[in-house]
Symmetry: C2
Subunit: 237 residues, 2 copies
């Protein structure tokens, strides 16, 4: 439910309804699984005021199946991945990395943030972080036909990324760039809108880079730009 | 898809979109199942002009899961099961019984018929036949707080019901009343609308009975009314 609501947020949309398909294993005689599942689905549906309007429930001897689809409508025009332009500033709505320590199981869809942003700014491209900050920004770059420069010092690193780095031996920045399932939004706006945003942010935002004409994705550290792939990120993503 | 479209028809609705959840067994290496499934879903979606707007597809080591949800909107007010009134005439949109000989796998949703009926007549109650003519009419009776009298001689019996009767030893009428998954529509209208309908039917319809004040469901044969339960139908349903 959270992941699907995040998809709606990432298009600058408003969720209108959810449908839920469930297949329950007959071995769950106590009905505890279904009770907890329904409770979780209802809590999030209520929180974001999305009615669960239908779907199907069945049982069988195989494993548990849960399929949630959320329907929505654009608040203004739908924000795609393909609208970024060279010169755009790139923002993220929250610190990232290390979600596997638990946050990946409790995605917080940035619906309110998306609405505030989309109502007041011309968002040129947007996506939510499911694969990882670098990889998802790569999707924006590819589909927009432009390049991405990330400023290493500006990337907001989640405390979980530091925590996880102690276990993995990778850097916290590597986790911030490479880990997925953060469900924060990444979006681009014109430099003019970017400056307006930083002057009076309508929600938590961090500027993390800029779009450039040359395709590719770079990391800028201490004034030096290097292709992300060349830094060995590709494999750690 | 067909069954869900039939549900929309049964409420006097117009389908607007479908979502499809699929979980494919990994053992289906050739992809033949998914290909045929997609083809069937698309054919029916195209035929009734319902866009498949989303859902989810996954694979695993357990069995095949298919979950289809169809969304729709009422053409006029939604037609419920609860609006039948004593004196109403009861109609069905096609011959029934014996669907298990094959028709149950190819449900034909009566969407065009429902639209023609709902646009020109005040349908008081409607349902599609999934459990069987008698049982589904029972649902209308119960929810409308009235009784149902079926006229045995007027029930349109499908050739499959005669065919099946040869195998089962039951009568063709028993199959017509008791068999399910016909997906024809049953509906009630005022006697005035009923007479108009018979005078110039907008689609194939058969009058099969009337609603009465006294709750219950009766079969009228050669002028004699008997409670359906007393005739032993309950068990054969």
């Amino acid at each position: 439910m959270g992941v699907n609501l995040s998809d709606i947020a990432a298009m600058g949309g408003r969720p209108t309804a959810a449908v839920v398909g469930l297949v329950l294993p007959r071995s769950d005689g106590s009905g505890e699984t279904i009770r907890q599942l329904q409770q979780g689905l209802r809590e999030m549906a209520n929180q974001y005021q999305v009615p669960i309007v239908g779907g199907d429930t069945n049982s069988w001897t195989d494993g548990l199946v849960v399929s949630v689809t959320v329907l929505g409508e654009p608040i203004r025009a739908a924000v795609l991945r393909s609208g970024a332009q060279p010169g755009d500033w790139i923002f993220v709505t929250g610190p990232v990395g290390g979600s596997i320590l638990g946050r990946h199981l409790k995605p917080v869809p940035r619906l309110i943030e998306a609405e505030q942003l989309v109502k007041n700014y011309e968002l040129r491209a947007m996506i939510d972080i499911s694969d990882g900050l670098a990889q998802d920004l790569g999707h924006i770059g590819e589909e927009s036909g432009c390049g991405i420069v990330l400023h290493a010092a500006e990337v907001p690193i989640h405390p979980d990324a530091f925590e996880l780095a102690k276990q993995t031996g990778k850097t916290a920045l590597a986790h911030a760039l490479g880990d997925g399932e953060d469900f924060e939004l990444i979006f681009t706006v014109s430099a003019v809108d970017g400056a307006r945003l930083l002057a009076a942010p309508p929600c938590p935002i961090w500027k993390v880079g800029v779009c450039v004409a040359e395709p590719g994705i770079w990391l800028e550290e201490e004034g030096r730009r290097s292709p992300l792939a060349a830094l060995g990120w590709e494999h750690s993503l």
